[in-house]
Symmetry: C2
Subunit: 150 residues, 2 copies
DNA sequence: TTGTAATCATACTATATCCATAGGTTTTAA
DNA sequence: TTAAAACCTATGGATATAGTATGATTACAA
């Protein structure tokens, strides 16, 4: 019992919050992780691990040492939420069936439900790829049940 | 590393496959779990555990003993995928932030990213609530990137 | 009354992920 | 040269996932 479904982990959520924080302070030079951690109420040590994931892509520019820190490599409008989550979460597929791992499900050819998951994956990707960091800065309003369908 | 995001578990996926199987054989009286397990390639014992979740709602009609088994309580058009997943997965929220557990995030008032997750949750719910078992029987085609937006 | 099948109850094994904490090393700029 | 900060590696508890195994109990129908 209890609830246990399809969750985006702290890796993705904290990454996004960190990048939004960087976007908000993008004119202040390099921003130290310590400052972000304090503002966001996240352990600096944990954030350190998470930023490792981001560093595998060219999302950030970093500087070590005195007055070092992080800044966005590009303008906030150039980052989509989908892009960020793919990097930090390792993919945004809602079911394992859609991953391209070697032990693919052998029933995929006859599976009546696979198309449901493919459609769900598409819907999720379209939504997340349609939002940029700039949109969040501009006080993004969520998609309500009413407004969503035309 | 590796991929670790937001997955719908076997509980939800197998439940859906079981109900589709029942929908396909809805004119054959009660269907024994053994038959479903064989057709779907799922352990009968594991399916037994999963069907317990479905039995908490009025989704199924059951009969014990000789020629007993399960059948859908209503027509396939009356079941949405969203409804089924809510029962078996305990909710379809993509982040813990949206659950109504007591230890709600205290930053929700100022969180710049919460609206993103609310919007994502809405998009997922709209999609899953828009598909019925009958749609799956009618060879549901997935929502492609091109067709989705008008 | 006999077999069939659901129902219930555990318990156990692996494995993986989540969410950190901790300590040490390297680089940089004043 | 020194302090600040990124960077790296390891560890661990808690929880969830995905089953397997074993059996007891209950209800139904021929």
């Amino acid at each position: 019992m209890g609830d246990m479904i399809m969750k985006i982990s702290t890796k993705g959520r904290y990454s996004l919050r960190m990048l939004v924080d960087l976007a908000e302070h993008k004119d202040n030079g390099y921003i130290a992780l310590k400052d972000i951690a304090e503002r966001q109420g996240i352990s600096k040590k944990y954030l350190e691990q998470i930023v490792t994931l981001l560093n595998r892509s060219d999302i950030l520019r970093t500087n070590r040492g005195y007055q070092g820190g992080y800044m966005l490599a590009q303008a906030p409008s150039q980052y989509t939420v989908g892009q960020i989550l793919r990097v930090t979460e390792g993919g945004i597929y809602p079911v394992t069936c859609l991953e391209d791992n070697p032990n693919q499900c052998e029933r995929s050819g006859q599976c009546k439900t696979l198309a449901i998951w493919q459609g769900l994956s598409n819907v999720i990707a379209e939504y997340l790829d349609g939002i940029t960091l700039q949109d969040i800065l501009d006080n993004y309003q969520n998609v309500g049940a009413d407004e969503y369908y035309i």
